[in-house]
Amino acid sequence: MRLALRVSLVALLCMALAGCDRPAADTAATPTPPPPPAAPALQVLATTDLRDIEPLQQMVLKATGVNLQFRFGGTMESTEAVLNGQSGADIAWFANAKYLLSDAQGQSRVKLQEKIMLSPIALGLSESAARQLGWDRPERAAKVTWKDIAAAAKAGKLSYALSNPATSNQGFMALLGVVASAAQKTDGLGAADVDRGAIAAFLKGYRLPGDNSTYLSEKFIERQGIDVNAFINYESWLLGLNQSGKLREKLLLVYPHEGVSTADYPLLLLNDARRDDYLKVVAYLKGEAAQTWLARQTLRRPVVPEVAAQVADILPRDAMRIELPFSPDRALADGLIDAYLNEFRRPIASTFVLDTSGSMERDGRQQQLIQALDYIAGVDRSLTGRIARLTNRERLWMQPFSDNPYDLQRFEIPAGAPAARGVQVIEDSEAKQKALAQVRAFAAGLNMRGGTALFDAVLKSLKNMADEKQRNPGYQYSVVAFTDGENNKGRTFEEFRRDYEQLPEDARSIPVFMVLFGDANEKQLRELVKVTGGRLFDARKTPLYGVFKDIRAYQ
């Protein structure tokens, strides 16, 4: 029980942080090695959304003599590490540490804290969409509420990108904004206050999910004006997109009237022995040079008012931006996430393309695959487990392949009985337990033999998903493909590419999340996701089940 609580807390903490950006398998490039340190480096554990502040390392060294060594981590792991006192870091730097600091143990880990910069969550709306909604008029934009946003989403006028509400601060706080708006109050919210209709309406417009602002920005650039016209994220990311010159049209920033949550990027001292260095770094970061640099280069707001006045030209003026109070109510958070996953979200429909070639018998690969499938079809009721596991209403096809793609096998998780009022964590029904057991039985029965006809299998799965999408457009479609070796049967990559181009637009809009495992050909798979859209995940060094869990946040 205690353990479950702890795990659940850790996952919850994660939401509070920087969008839970995890280091992407394909972007986990080694940071530039720091110059030889004069004193032991000050180890900084930072969330990946802070990658853009890395040039500060040199600036801090020059100004203070303190050598910062940044380690960017998956938020969930980082937060857990801080909580357990096993981060190995002297200081931590998160977008938002409110969950960490709402917890007595989290508080005891943090010796000193200082906010460094600010970035509120905002709705970035394509200018044409803003005009259509009449929100391009400043006096109207100032009064837009989360309820208005939900109504526009329901009416099909607003379709947006947003990081996963179950794993990210931006996603969760957006949901909380809708809850507050519908309840007509922003403080003292409890699980019973949740207006289920408003949440459902808001999520009608949720078109582009993900778990990492870099990924979402890339996809948004590709799809703006096609099937998305808005992006909910930290202001700094939206302003950065506007400056990038890569958008089809600029984004108009709207700060919903009843409130938004602001990331305040506290720098947290964990190791008291490094207090002096920490204080030097804080003094520098809150000084004019660093504050100005942060504002100009990263578009985050200075916490120092004098500097804020100096850079007012590059940041939007906001006469009144209301802060949405942060609720430490665990029942509300747990219930809202559970309901989001199992009831409100656009249900997932995906095909898992599984390599069952002979090479899978080597090195415990088969066991890893079974473990990973057991994990997503498992009984783990912790929040981490809940994010990974199959959700109510989800449709799943298994597409094993070796020399050829085999027959598709379909699974469906039944819908649950919604709570009468508000939200709460609902126990699994018997029917759901049965469906999950079927998936596990399927995994246990896989036979490994023959060659690797990967591209045939991916193409077949995409066609299957496209057919399904035509019949049931209300689902979120994707293909998850997994291979441990090089394609040696069926279509070559060139043939695949040619046939892929012939697929209808609908099929081509379905992302392929490709898992790199065993002796798979990284270059070719990278090419594949470039053609199909989606993302490459590397399971060569991390356990396969962990990668499957990561992918779930993108589905």
């Binding site: 109050k185 403080d187 003292g188 602001t262 916490v303 008012p305 804020a308 009144m320």
Partner: protein, 371 residues
Amino acid sequence: MNKTARLLVTLALLGGFGGALWFSLRGAPAQLAATEPAAATALTGLIAVDVEDFFKNPRVVQVLADHRLPVQVTRIGSRDMAARVAPGASPDFFFPSGVVAATQVTEAGRKAGIATASYSPFHTPLVIASWEPIARILVDNGIARPLQPQVYGVDMDKLTQLMLARKRWKDLKHAAAYDVSRSVLVSTTDVRRSNSAAMFLALASSALNGETVSDRDTARRTALRLAELFKRQGYQENYVNGNFEDYVSQGIGKTPLAWIYENQIVGHALAKGGIGGGMVLLYPQPTITNKLVFVATSERAKALGALLSNDAELQGIALQHGFRIADADRFAKAVQPTGLAVETRLTQVVDPPSFELMAEMIDVVTKEMGQ
């Protein structure tokens, strides 16, 4: 080395020794202590964050050195201080942020058989830092009244009732300037950890009870009723400057009403040479004052306590950090150039409930917040 040079060196050395001897016989005057601070052992002290900047001030360091009372201070939480009172292992002094924590230290000293002496060299009232549009709404609703430009008195009884009635800003009359769904709430730091939040609880309990709470039943009942004023705030900053920093850097949208020590905003105005546009102060009527209490556990620390209270220069430096001293006119003169308007004469001041009752009330609120 020629003869002349050798002679000069000898004279210099002699002069040095002789001078030192002469000075030490005279009883350590200022110049010597300044050049040889190692001559006096530093007094060790555990201090609250509120006075950390004061002790860091180079002029304070100088004055203390001049009086052969240099200090070595470590900042810890006020509520953690009592636990550090131990025979033979206590620091020379404690300087917690308020009376409640100081009483804890004195109590712990009594139990451990350590004699203590208390001094209150400076004080500051608790105020609500706010914004002109907010103050006007409160005036229009009969909660506040203007006292002078940028200064308002706020009726603590009415404000407490308004908050307990769960009124939102947009429910008030003439609230167009702040027509939001947020409840009217004064934002405080975490009452479980912070002295200033405890002072809010003390003041609100007097408002609700009609007089200072003086018995256990009333304390429990009142705290139970007031707990929601903390709980409904949601996440609260748990370090003393968090609330004030949010007021300064995030403004009216985050903290329309910020419960702070007056010295925080006065010190800020003095350091920055002014304040941001639209900032105003609301003085609760009645209000409550925070006395910073210096608790000495050694003879030399007693001398330091007396010095802090009586030395004109140290008192002047305390003013520069925003604190009030016994001399109200001096305070008014110090603040005047910043353009920050303050209410220099506070007429209605309530006493906080006794230490035991405060602890009881904080306990009740803590339990409620954990629910």
